[in-house]
């Protein structure tokens, strides 16, 4: 069995299985927890929970006015690599084919050149994010092993993917295999680390929105 056979076969199967197992475990164990009823009296004119949740989510998309100046670059950098990753994952033809193989749906791809440029920008943005984590005393203090591993498993597929499409340093089959293995690593880590925020961000921010809107607090 070649490295590419391993990557396209057993490694990918195990990674997808761990990802699905982990995500369904974490989501269900969270959603089925006993909910505490909010016994506070709702503010007069408090919006319904759905509206409060949506407002909370939207409000968190940008820092509050007093913090805009401080956090503008950090926020923008976050958007750059998050949107970059979305464009890479859902825009490259090869990735669409991968997803079509799993879910049976596909959509038009973006030109490879566009993805290459986005990938370089995303990589630079992720490096900036790490540099900030390492240089900011507060951020470094609250950073854990999870933060660094999550960064590493996110960056690795971007780097290996860029090298694979550029056909640099090794035969394509080796580069593709290494890229697929790096994706397998990302999938395995995803449910158990902070990358799970890909799912949980919608829950946490909405819950916060409901909580504060019921009390009439501005966030």
């Amino acid at each position: 069995m070649t490295l590419l056979d391993l990557a396209r076969g057993p490694a990918l199967e195990v990674a997808v299985a761990v990802f699905v197992f982990g995500v369904s475990w974490r989501l269900l164990s969270l959603l089925l927890l006993p909910w505490s009823h909010d016994k506070s009296i709702a503010r007069a004119g408090a919006p319904p929970a759905f509206v409060g949740a949506t407002r909370g989510f939207v409000r968190h998309l940008w820092p509050p006015k007093p913090f805009v100046r401080t956090f503008i670059l950090v926020t923008l950098n976050g958007y750059v690599f998050h949107l970059g990753l979305v464009v890479i994952v859902f825009g490259l033809a090869q990735h669409i084919l991968f997803l079509r193989g799993l879910f049976g749906v596909s959509w038009p791809n973006l030109p490879s050149g566009v993805i290459a440029v986005v990938s370089v920008i995303t990589l630079a943005s992720l490096i900036v994010a790490l540099a900030r984590r390492l240089t900011s005393p507060v951020l470094r203090l609250i950073s854990t092993f999870d933060d660094y591993v999550s960064w590493f498993v996110t960056v690795l597929p971007v780097v290996t993917g860029l090298i694979a499409v550029s056909h640099l340093w090794a035969p394509y089959e080796t580069l593709l295999a290494v890229h697929l293995l790096s994706v397998a690593l990302l999938l395995i880590w995803f449910p158990f680390g902070k990358l799970m925020h890909g799912f949980l961000v919608f829950l946490t921010r909405s819950e916060t929105g409901i909580f504060y809107s019921r009390r009439g607090a501005e966030i």
């Binding site: 969270l30 006993p34 084919l97 973006l110």
Partner: protein, 354 residues
């Protein structure tokens, strides 16, 4: 034994001029990326060389490799090969000769001990002692061991002989193995492909005869001159791949415009062969030019690497059962942990009330 005639004498007898030989060696030197001076050296060496004794064994195969060579578009190529070599035994071509053919093999082995080249097409069955493929009452395994013992070198022609090929595909009922797994004490050159390109074979034999040494080989023992580049790197559709322009189906606009066939399963990026440069039928075309993706036939286990129409960036199998099982197991664990949490909460409430 009578002294074998030189290739030069044989060519002259056949009415082939020195000029024609020079043109041929220039062609071979060029396809093998040899320096221009090699062409003249090859012509001179070939003219003086004795015709190489070759024993051709056909095992578990479809005869496509022999067909590829003997029925190639240009008659000059196989004529030249058969002028360069003395084909003392060919199981398929001599099938009607029966025992006389077998005797010819034994005679050639005796008279050219340590000097003859064995060409094999087809994989070797070793399951149940090799009984699944026999010839003249002997298993392929026995014939190969016997013939290879005093050979100078072996050439495995075609993917079956080189890597096991289709006979070795799962579940491999005959226990098929490549030649290199049986013969481990002699040089074995692999010229893979299903079938291999005639020029790759002609060029390798010419190189052996001319320089009396093995050509540069890759990690799978294939001549680098023919297997050094991937189909993808030499494909005329490569610019479309780089631009992200892909045919989605074999009958869509992209297919009609000649865009890259990656999405319809082309294995060109991981397949090493000279199809995109030498092409087939005298340089007329090759599979991708004809509108079909590369199957990767010159690579080991190409038959068992997932569907031919599955793109390379997808998994070889869609693990539906594994995904379903993992989702169910995850859900069960999630529900259980949530129920346990509810139970703990209920008990805590009960204790606080009492």
């Amino acid at each position: 034994m009578p002294e074998r005639e030189t290739i030069g004498a044989s060519l002259t007898r056949s009415g082939i001029s020195r000029r024609a030989l020079l043109k041929y060696t220039a062609y071979l030197a060029s396809v093998m990326a040899l320096p221009p001076s090699a062409s003249k050296a090859m012509a001179e060496a070939l003219a003086k060389a004795r015709r190489q004794s070759v024993i051709w064994l056909s095992f578990q195969e479809c005869t496509g490799c022999t067909e590829s060579l003997t029925r190639s578009f240009s008659p000059t190529i196989e004529d030249m090969i058969f002028n360069m070599i003395s084909l003392d035994y060919h199981e398929t071509l001599q099938a009607v000769s029966g025992l006389a053919a077998e005797q010819a093999r034994l005679t050639a082995m005796k008279e050219n001990k340590g000097k003859y080249v064995v060409v094999v097409d087809g994989s070797v069955s070793i399951g149940d002692g090799g009984v699944y493929s026999t010839c003249a009452g002997k298993t392929n395994l026995e014939v190969l061991k016997e013939t290879a013992e005093n050979a100078l070198a072996l050439i495995s022609v075609g993917t079956c002989a080189a890597f096991g090929g289709i006979p070795q595909a799962k579940p491999n009922p005959t226990g098929a193995v490549p030649v290199s797994e049986i013969v481990t004490d002699k040089p074995v050159i692999n010229i893979s492909g299903c079938p291999p390109i005639p020029e790759a074979m002609a060029g390798t034999i010419a190189y052996l005869v001319t320089f009396n040494k093995l050509p540069d080989l890759d990690h799978l023992n294939r001549p680098k001159a023919f297997f050094g580049d991937s189909i993808h790197d030499r494909c005329y559709r490569r610019p479309f791949y780089d631009k992200g322009l892909f045919a989605k189906r074999f009958d869509d606009e992209g297919a009609r415009k000649g865009w890259c066939l990656y999405e319809v399963g082309c294995k060109g990026p991981v397949t090493y062969n000279a199809c995109a440069t030498l092409k087939w039928n005298g340089g007329v075309s090759f599979p991708i030019q004809s509108g079909h993706g590369c199957l990767g036939c010159s690579e080991p286990h190409f038959w068992d690497k997932g569907g031919f129409y599955n793109p390379l960036s997808t998994g070889t199998e869609v693990p539906t059962a594994i995904i379903g099982g993992a989702a169910a197991a995850g859900a069960a664990l999630g529900v259980t942990s949530a129920l346990l949490a509810r139970r703990r909460k209920h008990q805590a409430a009960k204790e606080s009330r009492s």
